[in-house]
Amino acid sequence: MELIVALAIGVLTASGIWLLLRPRTFQVIIGLSLISYAVNLFIFAMGRLRLGAPPVLVDAGVGDPGLYDDPLPQALVLTAIVISFAMTALFLVVLLASRGLTGTDHVDGRERR
């Protein structure tokens, strides 16, 4: 499982970086989304992988950490998901504004000479 998750992170990152370095705004925004999946998975994986141990206490009282997956990376990723949504929204609007103002969808606001 670990190997697959690692490879998944790798593929997502590679696709993301490739798109990040492309000249069109749409490519960059898709690239950023892919990278944020990769980063979220990566942060999540820092808590190590476990099957069937969601950090939801089975019974009220003091919890036994050995029984549950690490909740901290999950909390971090949860906020990261929401923030990356906000980032995508903002970029999308900036992208549209830039397209409207400059007439091009090149990331620099003008075509390469």
């Binding site: 898709i30 999540f44 919890g63 999950q74 990331v107």
Partner: protein, 973 residues
């Protein structure tokens, strides 16, 4: 002593206060301002005089105010005999210059500005001489640079004034920065910035490994300020200043600050080889070159400027020698030079004022028109040349005597006396030229104005200074002796050597040197007279390689060529190179630890791979790579593939014990896809060319390079992730949260408890970010008109619309909505269902996967579905959604919940919980964190809906624009 300390502070503050007051005067109140500035100078002078008894016999007056004692930085003022001498020069000559300016400045000039800067400069200069703390000294040093910039650029309507001011500021400012660093180093070596401590720690400093850099940096400051070669070029360009400014800055103050500092730190640095060579070479070359350049100037003030440079060089040489007697001569010459040079500048100003020109080729025979001024100028310039019975003679004799002495056996020591004679000879020649070409010869015929004697009070300062030159020159020990002694003791302390200030020392070598210089100088002038009468400005050979040209060239190179180069390579105009740089830096930073510690997979047993999971990620990888490939020409399919990758990620979360993440990811995925979908229509058309041109080689290389970066980056991340995942976690911070999630936070879902309780403040910040993004999007789109739709309506829609138009009972768009009526009804019916789901997610969040974030996004989806189903207009006619209020109430609810804990004496966001029985629903946890989560929920709904609606509105807007254009009369459209 207490009173004296207070007087120091008063002396320090007086000019600055005066400066602030003068600035408020009306611009035509010439007399009032001059009288006021004069009064400030008189008061300063009086305070300085009253302090004399305290500093007379090596006493030191101190005043200490704590500023930043933790950093050893205190507002310490300190006045010994040397500082006192300078304070006298600064205030005394300042007073004379004020008197002179009253007559010099024309009624059109904005005089308050002049006197305000002038007094502020005086204050800064007093600060430099009286500072008792190295950092404080550097601060005042910078202030002198700034105020001299303002004074030199006073006539800012002249380009030359602006250039001169800028050059002076650049050169002295750079020097000032070096000085500051030098001072910090010096303070570091000594362990204190206090001047007394530093002066007493000469031995420590000289043996420290940082001695050389420290000295170099401080010297850089001093040499630039004192216009020493090779930094001399700013001074002649500063002559664009009004003459009173030149008279003040270039005789007694600004340029003297450099030699002042060298003398001040003389006990610390002098006597070392490094000091001798660096200062000596700079001083000697300045002495000779300055005198040589001065002789070939055609501008009166230019001549004086180079002569100033040369005399400062003389002082620098004396300070370089490291012998106490030479230091005495240097201090004495500082005084003498200030007196005669100030009077000469003022005389030059009178000549300029009365004739309208300073060009020596045009001036001649002025003696007939202004005999009185001429006589005064002659005496002053004789003092400059070092003629006997004038003050310049005595210090020059001392210089010659010291030049002959052997100090450090070296080539430099050997050539010094010869160069000294050459410089003396040249200085006689240019002094003679100053007098002869201006006051003698035939009557001038093409002067702009008919010259006459200036008003008496304009001449008075010169009279006073020339008188000083005379009495000091004739009876030195009676007049200036005690003051000089106080100054010398201030610098040298117990090392003060016996010296004699007599005019006559008998027939000796220095006298012979003086005689050679005098006769040789006269002969040189008459030999060159005819050449000089017609020659160009500037000395032969050197004319072309002026220092200021090199300076300008360096400036252009630095601030334009290099800046442009840096801008092209590192600038923000092009995003791709920057992102590439960013990725590369991240790659390097990421691989460094591997390089250091080696890389090998860990030993943690891995979970056996599930074939379904492998298949899942096979699809995921195809989606990711497909999105990357198709994002350029096939945006819609790229978006769908992206969503596919997101979905796979979401399933992974669910698979690997993160239900909260799965829920949130899924919901956010929906919203993101809708959002991008809304934006797609405004992106330009881009079709893959069916018959593509061969890709250019450059572009192909770029793609290979980016591909390589991407693959390496991906492989690196995969490797890093794998290596970490196969090692045991060193310590789990999360354990704490698992353990106490219920007992402390009152919830069983540890992730949610972390978000709303343990790390509630972070979440609060995150909410704010989300709110800000929502508002930014709203603000960006409020007045924005998107680009025209890039794709024409599809054929099907056209046919449908044509059909609608043909029928009288149908409106355009009816068919289209009819087509969607089944999904629309479903979507509308789903509205309450999704709302219930959102509430469910919200309420169970504390104990089971869910929570404010997920619930908020779910509710936002409910709203957006209505928009999709029924259209923007219909929804807004039937439903008032005020997302801005949702955002506001969300933030407010979270903040108030947090602040509520203050009332119970707990810190911000401390939560409290208990269970409550609600009818039908059952036992519900009622933690105060729930209220906080409610805030999160409201805000997420508000921000998400705001963004989506703002985008959705754009489509209405563009229709409106079309309609608006269509209804315009033809000629306007």
């Amino acid at each position: 002593m207490k009173i004296d300390g207070g007087l120091l502070i008063l002396l320090m503050l007086l000019p600055f206060a005066g400066s602030a007051v003068v600035a408020l005067f009306r611009s035509n109140a010439h007399n009032v301002e001059a009288v006021f500035a004069g009064a400030v100078s008189v008061a300063g002078l009086a305070i300085a005089i009253s302090l004399y008894p305290s500093v007379m016999d090596g006493g030191v007056v101190r005043s200490q105010i704590e500023w930043l004692p933790a950093y050893g930085l205190n507002f310490n003022l300190r006045m010994d005999g040397f500082a006192w001498m300078f304070a006298m020069l600064v205030t005394g000559i300042g007073l004379l210059v004020v008197v002179y300016s009253r007559y010099y400045m024309s009624p059109e000039d904005p005089v308050p500005r002049f006197f305000s800067f002038f007094l502020a400069f005086m204050g800064a200069m007093l600060g430099v001489v009286m500072a008792g703390n190295l950092i404080l000294l550097a601060v005042f040093w910078e202030l002198t640079s700034i105020f001299s910039f303002l004074l030199i650029g006073y006539w800012y309507q002249n380009a030359s004034a602006r250039d001169g001011a800028r050059m002076a500021l650049t050169v002295t400012g750079v020097g000032g920065l070096a000085l500051l660093v030098g001072m910090l180093l010096l303070g570091h070596i000594v362990g204190s910035y206090d001047l007394d401590t530093v002066l007493a720690s000469g031995n420590i400093v000289r043996q420290h490994p940082l001695f050389l850099p420290t000295m170099l940096l401080i010297l850089l400051g001093a040499l630039t300020k004192s216009a020493q070669f090779p930094f001399h070029f700013w001074l002649p360009n500063a002559m664009a200043a009004p003459t009173p400014v030149s008279a003040y800055l270039h005789s007694a103050t600004m340029v003297k600050a450099g030699v002042f500092l060298m003398a001040r730190l003389w006990p610390v640095f002098a006597g070392t080889q490094e000091w001798f060579w660096i200062v000596g070479v700079a001083g000697l070359s300045t002495l000779v070159l300055g005198a040589y350049f001065a002789l070939f100037q055609q501008d009166l003030k230019g001549l004086l400027a180079y002569s100033t440079i040369s005399h400062l060089g003389l002082i620098t040489v004396l300070l370089s020698l490291g012998s106490p007697l030479a230091a005495v001569a240097a201090i004495f010459h500082m005084m003498n030079h200030a007196t005669f040079k100030a009077s000469l500048f003022m005389a030059a100003g009178i000549i300029d004022h009365e004739t309208g020109t300073r060009d020596m080729r045009r001036l001649s025979g002025l003696f007939r028109y202004m005999p009185y001024t001429a006589t005064l100028a002659m005496v002053a310039s004789a003092a400059m040349a070092g003629v006997p019975l004038l003050n310049g003679f005595i210090s020059k004799e001392m210089f010659f005597a010291e030049a002959v002495e052997t100090h450090m056996v070296s080539v430099l020591d050997t050539v010094t006396p010869y160069l000294a004679v050459v410089a003396g000879l040249l200085s006689v020649a240019y002094s003679l030229r100053f007098i002869h070409s201006v006051f003698f010869g035939p009557l001038p015929n093409d002067l702009p104005r008919k010259p006459h004697e200036p008003p008496h009070w304009m001449r008075f300062p010169i009279e006073f200074l020339v008188l000083a030159c005379l009495v000091v020159g004739i009876v030195p020990s009676l007049t200036v002796g005690p003051f000089l002694h106080a100054a010398v003791v201030g610098v040298l302390g117990r090392e003060t050597p016996p010296y004699s200030l007599a005019v006559w020392h008998g027939f000796n070598l220095p006298l012979l040197m003086s005689a050679i210089a005098l006769t040789g100088g006269v002969a040189l002038y008459f030999a060159l007279k005819n050449y000089l009468a017609v020659s160009e400005e500037g000395p032969p050979w050197f004319r072309r390689i002026g220092g200021h040209r090199i300076f300008e060239r360096i400036l252009v190179t630095l601030s334009w060529r290099w800046a442009r180069l840096a801008e092209t390579h590192l600038g923000t105009r092009r995003l791709q190179p920057q992102l590439r740089l960013l990725v590369l830096v991240a790659l390097i930073a990421g691989s460094l630890p591997f390089y250091r510690a080696g890389a090998a997979a860990g030993i943690l047993p891995v979970i056996p791979a599930d074939p379904a999971f492998v298949l899942l990620w096979l699809i995921g990888a195809i989606c990711a790579i497909g999105a990357a490939v198709r994002a350029k020409y096939h945006r819609l399919s790229a978006l769908i593939l992206l969503a596919g990758a997101g979905l796979v990620t979401c399933i992974t979360f669910a698979w690997l014990s993160a239900p909260d993440l799965a829920v949130t990811q899924l919901l956010v995925e929906i919203v993101t896809t809708v959002l991008i979908l809304l934006g797609l229509r405004w992106l330009p058309k881009r079709w893959a060319d069916p018959d593509p041109m061969p890709v250019k080689i450059g572009a192909r290389i770029r793609r290979y390079r980016d591909f390589l970066i991407a693959v390496v980056g991906g492989a690196g991340m995969a490797f890093l992730a794998y290596v970490i995942m196969t090692r045991p976690a060193s310590s789990r911070l999360g354990d704490y949260f698992v353990r106490y999630a219920y007992t402390e936070g009152g919830g069983r879902n540890a992730v949610n408890v972390i978000l709303v309780d343990f790390r509630g403040f972070d979440t609060f910040g995150e909410m704010a970010v989300l709110g800000v993004v929502g508002l930014s999007v709203f603000a960006l789109l409020r007045r924005f008109r998107p680009a025209a739709d890039s794709v024409e309506s599809p054929d099907q829609q056209k046919i449908q619309n044509a059909y609608d138009e043909a029928r009288e009972d149908r409106k355009v768009g009816d068919t289209l909505s009819d087509y969607l009526s089944v999904p629309a009804v479903i979507m509308q019916w789903l509205f309450p269902v999704i709302i219930v789901l959102a509430i469910h997610l919200f309420l169970r969040g504390h104990d089971l996967p869910g929570g404010g974030f997920a619930a908020g996004v779910a509710l936002a989806i409910a709203f957006i579905l209505q928009y999709l189903a029924a259209g923007t207009r219909w929804v807004e006619d039937h439903l008032r959604i005020l997302p801005l209020r949702w955002i506001g109430f969300g933030l407010l609810s979270a903040a108030l919940t947090g602040a509520g804990s203050w009332f119970f004496g707990y810190p911000f966001l401390t939560s409290h919980f208990q269970y409550a029985e609600l009818p039908w629903i059952g036992k519900v946890p009622m933690a105060s964190a729930l209220l906080f989560d409610l805030g999160v929920f409201l805000l997420v709904v508000g921000a998400t809906v705001l963004v989506l609606i703002a985008l959705a509105h754009q489509s209405i807007r563009s229709h409106r624009t079309d309609r608006f254009v269509a209804t315009l009369p033809k000629e306007d459209a």
